[in-house]
């Protein structure tokens, strides 16, 4: 692979970078809101992958007209519309859960939550699961 082809694929590099940033945030951050933000970045990067692969150089939106002959593939964009809706639903639900967690525990920091769970269940075996 030459530098030129690698550079020409820059949107895919951005996809990979965003994906890694998002995934890292999900794993490494202890704050539940920050985790959700990371999850969002992770999901958004996929939109970029799909839309990049559908684009045709110099193509227009797929509208029937005599003036255009080259069209961009509309299917990936349509798929991503669905994925965006799913992403919104997930984020909304996640944030709602964080609100309830904050009401119930008084904190949204992972390590403090874990400590509180251990107080609830002294044996320590019944906590809600390990850190994702």
């Amino acid at each position: 692979m030459t530098w030129e082809t690698a550079g020409g694929l820059y949107n895919y590099w951005i996809f990979i970078l965003l994906m890694m940033i998002g995934f890292y945030t999900v794993i490494a951050r202890g704050n539940l809101i920050k985790k959700l933000v990371g999850l969002n970045i992770f999901q958004t990067s996929v939109f970029m992958l799909y839309i990049s692969m559908g684009v045709v150089d110099g193509g227009t939106a797929p509208i029937l007209s005599d003036r255009f002959t080259v069209y961009t593939n509309p299917l990936p964009s349509v798929l991503i519309l669905t994925a965006i809706v799913v992403g919104i639903a997930t984020t909304a639900l996640g944030l709602a859960l964080v609100v309830r967690i904050r009401e119930a525990y008084g904190t949204i920091e992972e390590d403090e939550l874990l400590a509180l769970d251990h107080e609830d269940f002294p044996a320590g075996r019944t906590s809600a699961g390990d850190t994702p």
Binding site: M19, F23, V26, L32, K35, L36, L39, F42, Q43, V46, L49, Y50, M53, P76, L79, T82, A83, V86, A89, T90, L93, G94, L97, V98, R100, I101, A104, Y105, L113, D117, D120, F121, A123, R125, T126, S127, A128, G129, D130, T131, P132
Partner: protein
């Protein structure tokens, strides 16, 4: 005739439309009746479809009249028929049991919501089993997942919220992995229809994209089905969810995810992978076998260490899923049949034990081992059903759980894989060990002296519990329907795939 032809979409559209109606009905009692009626209708549709499939073979339904690879195809073979019937039958049993248990565990203003979410979850699961389009599958996967996260968060106590959050994060990561993988496969084929995808992948000249795409898809689905070592979300979710939700999730959720994995692995990926040359000792089925068996043993050991019975059974679910994956990875007709028959029987027996624990929680207020001394004599019928399910889980001859394990054992011996056979046996012994701890405490230890007499659980819970409990014995002796179906399904699955 016309209605009969439109049964495949009706199967999942019915619960999808019926779910929100519960919000309008408002009163929990009405919602419960409505949900039960809908689940019953789903079961009737599923059984009709299964009959049609067994008579005439694969049913292909073109949504909106668009031809398949362009339009969305609903494709039903014996395996889909089996899954549809299983899921809707379990839904009927769980909904029969639900009203009393839900009244006890969920606040009155949220009970209507519970039935809405339950029906939406059912719609997602049924949709996953009918669709023949890989992206459509993602949509149904998310419908069922999102409703499950919410169902888990309805559990008592604040830990349920945290368990739901952990599940939401990991579940979404899994689903996103699936979408990334699917995108890469779409990149090299330009199609999303599963059958079409399989044909195009064989001719695709880019094995690296295929490998990476398949990797993402399989890892994503492995999170959803809680294959070792990606099972971290499952114990928390099963432990803290309301009892009925635990029972339904354990019996159907992971099973449907396993169905999806098998469907994609055998129908979509197998033809192109058999043409691919991986470096010598590495094979895809070898990796699946190792992960499955390691998961079975390690999760069984974890189950042995638990003091909360719901958590113990959750780990046992991880173990049994490992066993099913390992069975399918042996790739012979007998082993795949064994895996599928174990899938059916495990759904029945896990529903039994979780529903029984729901009753115990209702009457004794706890499912921790130390609180259950003498429970076998205080709640003889409920704990009796639990015992039936637990013996079936161990695989005692004469119970349903035995059939699957025995078939898998035979499959391993057929191929002279003694190591695998020994591990399956060891897994069963470990199961016996953790089930015995419960038996010892609940039956052999006397109840504490100050314990009050408690009544048996209400009849509306006892009857469905009894039905699934006895089903463990029926399917253990009268194996023609389960084994026959599993055999037909494994033929459908292996049809184009045996190397």
């Amino acid at each position: 005739m016309t209605l009969l032809a439109h049964l495949p979409p009706l199967q999942m559209v019915l619960p999808l439309m019926a779910g929100p109606v519960c919000l309008l009905l408002g009163r929990p009692r009405l919602c419960a009746v409505w949900a039960l009626a809908v689940a019953g209708a789903c079961l009737a549709i599923a059984l009709t479809l299964l009959g049609q499939i067994l008579d005439t073979g694969v049913i292909s339904y073109h949504v909106g009249g668009w031809e398949p690879p362009w339009g969305i195809e609903l494709r039903l073979d014996a395996l889909s028929g089996l899954m549809l019937s299983l899921v809707s039958a379990i839904a009927v049993v769980v909904l029969l049991y639900a009203p009393a248990s839900v009244r006890h565990e969920i606040p009155a203003d949220r009970q209507g919501l519970f039935y809405t979410l339950f029906l939406l979850n059912l719609a997602g699961l049924l949709g996953m089993c009918t669709t023949g389009d890989a992206f459509n599958l993602f949509v149904f996967l998310e419908i069922s997942s999102l409703s499950t996260y919410t169902l888990v968060s309805l559990g008592r106590g604040r830990s349920a919220l945290r368990a739901a959050y952990v599940y939401l994060v990991l579940g979404t990561v899994g689903a996103t992995f699936y979408v990334i993988g699917l995108g890469l496969l779409y990149m090299i084929t330009g199609t999303l229809n599963m059958v079409d995808l399989a044909q195009h992948l064989v001719n695709a000249d880019n094995p690296r994209t295929l490998l990476v795409g398949a990797g993402f898809v399989v890892v994503g689905l492995s999170i959803k089905l809680a294959l070792f070592p990606l099972h971290k979300w499952l114990p928390g979710a099963y432990t803290h969810a309301p009892s009925v939700v635990s029972a339904f999730m354990a019996a159907t959720g992971t099973k449907v995810a396993l169905y999806v994995l098998l469907r994609l692995a055998f129908t979509v990926l197998a033809p192109s992978f058999s043409a691919l040359h991986l470096p010598h000792p590495v094979t895809v089925e070898g990796m699946a076998l190792i992960l499955g068996l390691t998961g079975m043993i390690s999760a069984s050991v974890s189950a042995f260490l638990q003091t909360d019975l719901k958590r113990m059974l959750a780990y046992s679910s991880v173990a049994q899923i490992g066993l099913m994956v390992a069975g399918a990875a042996l790739l012979t007709p007998t082993s795949v049949t064994g895996s599928l028959v174990h899938l059916i029987n495990h759904a029945v027996l896990k529903a039994t034990v979780f529903l029984a624990l729901g009753g115990v929680l209702m009457r004794l207020g706890s499912v921790r081992l130390e609180d259950l001394a003498g429970a076998g004599r205080r709640l003889p019928l409920t704990m009796g059903a639990f015992l039936l399910g637990a013996l079936s889980l161990v695989g005692i001859p004469g119970t349903a759980g035995f059939i699957g394990k025995w078939t898998l054992l035979l499959a391993a011996l057929e191929q002279d894989r003694w190591g695998v056979a020994v591990l399956i046996g060891a897994g069963s012994l470990l199961t016996l060990a953790y089930v015995w701890r419960v038996v010892e405490v609940a039956w052999l230890r006397p109840a504490p002296a100050q314990a009050a007499r408690v009544p048996e659980i209400p009849l509306s819970m006892l009857v469905p519990l009894g039905v699934v409990g006895v089903a463990n014995l029926v399917f253990g002796v009268y194996t023609a329907p389960t084994l026959g179906l599993a055999r037909a399904a494994s033929t459908a699955l292996l049809g184009g795939a045996t190397p």
